[in-house]
């Protein structure tokens, strides 16, 4: 008797748990798992005739045999890594300043300053950069007014413009985890290293960076993934030579009606970017769970 009641009690507990996590399961399966399964299925077929498809690896082999696609991916990955590194380089002093050098209201103000660009959509932000950088834009006008150049300069439509846009867009996602980890760093550790004879550089290298490593890595992962998956910034700021892998996917889906190739590219992007993140974690000797918690 008691065994039966015990069992039913345990069952009702299980049911409760099931009810509790069902929204999560639904969310995961409906919006993440199913679309990906669908994506895999579509990527593994090939159009043989109108409305007729057959199983094929050709969409995947196309990626490796057509140098254009492979090169576009490599370029995207390298640019993303570069953008991540630049973002880190710029965000680190900013984060250090916010976390360690200022207090109270001014700190909040600085944080808000980092946040403000995100109150408008990415499109508007990118157009903002276009207005600044274009040949008839504000920077060009300013340089002419200062007399540093004697004719309009085009600063838009090149890789530097892409990089500027990407770094700008990613800033917050690097600053926040860095500030969080740096705030946890005991000031006396910095002072101790300094007191023991460390130069500024050594103190940062020996004490601050090791402590901030989880923040650095998680910031880098987020920024890298965001950059790799960015579409608007590289296409709008990059101009005629901008090749971005997501643009390739978009083109396959929307302008070529080639969902098969687009899906394959999507899966490849997922796999390859996961691999890069994994490699990054290995190199920095961080574990994913530690970084993300």
């Amino acid at each position: 008797m008691s065994a039966v009641t015990g069992l039913s009690f345990r069952d009702s507990g299980k049911l409760g748990l099931l009810l509790l996590i069902s929204p999560l399961l639904l969310w995961l399966s409906l919006f993440i798992l199913l679309p990906h399964v669908d994506l895999v299925m579509i990527s593994l077929r090939e159009r043989v005739a109108a409305r007729e498809y057959a199983f094929s690896w050709s969409n995947y082999t196309a990626f490796f045999t057509e140098p254009l696609y492979w090169r576009t991916f490599m370029r995207t990955a390298v640019m993303s890594i570069l953008a991540t590194a630049l973002t880190l380089l710029i965000a680190f002093p900013v984060a250090f300043y916010i976390a360690k050098m200022v207090r109270g209201r001014f700190k909040a103000l600085l944080f808000v300053l980092c946040l403000i660009p995100f109150w408008v959509s990415e499109l508007v932000r990118t157009y903002g950069w276009m207005i600044l950088l274009r040949e008839t834009g504000i920077f060009s006008g300013l340089l002419q007014w200062l007399g540093w150049v004697d004719q309009p300069v085009e600063m838009l439509y090149n890789d530097v413009a892409i990089m500027v846009g990407l770094v700008y867009t990613s800033m917050l996602f690097m600053v926040v985890p860095l500030v969080t980890t740096l705030e946890g760093l005991d000031d006396s550790l910095i002072e101790a290293a300094y007191d023991l004879g460390g130069s500024h550089f050594r103190v940062i290298w020996d004490v601050v960076i090791p402590h901030a490593m989880p923040g650095i890595v998680s910031g880098c992962i987020v920024v890298f993934m965001l950059t790799l998956g960015n579409y608007l910034t590289p296409t709008l700021l990059g101009g005629k030579d901008s090749l971005w892998f997501t643009e390739q996917i978009y083109t396959q889906f929307i302008t070529r009606f080639n969902w098969e190739q687009g899906s394959a590219f999507g899966m490849l992007l997922l796999i390859l970017s996961s691999f890069i993140v994994w490699a990054g974690l290995k190199l920095s000797r961080q574990s994913f769970t530690r970084v993300m918690t």
Binding site: D186, D195, L196, D206, V207, P210, H211
Partner: protein, 376 residues
């Protein structure tokens, strides 16, 4: 301070050091000198400016005025990483991402000492602090006391002219703290290094130090040996801060060549000698009616069971209000007949007091030379 020691033997000297933060004066016109190899403590309540003073010595803050000299040379323009001074932090600040040996070796590496030499010096230092096998351990594997020793070893391995310690025992539990006090003193003697130790715990300061400076509101109230501070507190603050005392607010009811007749607000009348206590004011100027604060150490009070003549200038009858038994530090709370407040009396460790109980009547008394009087 010690007028006989010449400047050259001084490891550290401060001259008129002042530091203000806005309207707040944290350190005000402090001057002192510390001879080589001594253990010097700065004792004071929190907020008295002792941490600011220490940080100025280390170089993390610079004084608004005054000068700091180490071995006779001003270090005001020397940044912390080049001052021949090292600091043990309140929470020790051992680098968690390094092993124990790496922690100890850190300062040597920054001085570009040869690798082999670093190895031998670190091993030597670890064995000198009694942790010869801890080198490969992670900091988190050490106990509180071991961390303490590593934090000190990390500094001492650099042979600093002065070692600064910022209440490093504060985080330890009581028992370990008692033990570490002794250990610290022994370490200091073993290395013959100059230690400057700041604390708010008078017991730490008294036990370990050769010299103690009592600090209050940014100033040194008194600098002296622990004995001097304890037995001859120069100011009312020192008398109240160092050691335990019975305290009374009183006024002078009569005076003669030997001393004063005092009447406390709580209704006690007693005799006190001149020139005991306050060194800042001329006691000759004190007239009848002058308000004073009186301090009397519990161990200066003679006590006897029942009605006995104690032969002291001040003698009273009272009864035991309670017995606070604490081994060697046991005390009696005695209510003197006709007085409002309780008297704190050290319990003599003799057989006749073993069976003393609440309500027993006792005779108490103290010599007029034991009453420390201070201007209010």
């Amino acid at each position: 301070m010690q007028a006989q020691s010449s400047l050259k033997e001084m490891d550290l000297e401060c001259r008129g050091v002042t530091k203000t933060f806005g309207d707040f004066t944290a350190v005000e016109d402090i001057s002192f000198a510390i001879p080589r190899g001594s253990f010097f403590s700065i004792l004071g309540p929190s907020g008295c400016g002792k941490t600011t003073l220490l940080r100025m010595l280390a170089g993390f803050q610079s004084p608004d005025s005054g000068d700091i000299l180490i071995k006779g040379r001003s270090v005001l323009n020397t940044p912390p990483n080049r001052r021949p001074v090292n600091m043990v932090f309140q929470h020790l600040a051992l680098f968690p991402n390094m092993t124990v040996a790496e922690n100890v070796a850190y300062g040597l590496k920054r001085r570009n000492v040869d690798k082999h030499e670093i190895k031998t010096r670190v091993a030597d230092m670890l064995s000198r602090v009694g942790l010869p096998d801890a080198g490969g351990k992670q900091v988190s594997q050490l106990s509180g006391g071991q961390k303490q020793r590593i934090a000190i070893a990390r500094c001492l391995v650099l042979n600093p002219d002065v070692l600064l310690l910022d209440e490093p025992l504060g985080a330890l539990d009581l028992k370990l703290r008692e033990q570490m006090k002794v250990e610290l003193k022994q370490l200091q003697e073993k290395f013959a290094a100059t230690f400057i130790y700041i604390t708010h715990d008078q017991s730490e300061a008294l036990v370990m130090s050769d010299q103690v400076a009592v600090m209050n509101h940014g100033r040194f109230e008194q600098v002296g040996t622990p004995q001097a501070l304890y037995y001859e507190p120069a100011t009312r603050f020192v008398a109240g801060f160092v050691g335990e005392s019975n305290r009374w607010q009183a006024s002078i009811s009569a005076r003669d060549e030997r001393g004063f007749r005092l009447q406390t607000e709580a209704g006690l009348s007693m005799q006190a000698d001149r020139e005991i206590g306050d060194k800042s004011a001329s006691q000759n100027d004190w007239g009848v009616g002058k308000s004073l604060e009186l301090f009397l150490r519990p161990e200066s009070i003679s006590v006897a069971p029942g009605h006995q003549a104690l032969g002291t200038e001040n003698a009273y009858q009272g009864h035991v209000e309670s017995v606070l038994f604490d081994g060697a530090r046991s005390q009696l709370l005695v209510r003197i007949e006709g007085a409002l407040d309780l008297l704190n009396v050290s319990l003599p460790q003799t057989a006749e007091f073993r069976s003393i109980r609440k309500g027993d009547s006792v005779s108490v008394g103290w010599s007029s030379a034991q009453v420390q009087c201070y201007e209010v």
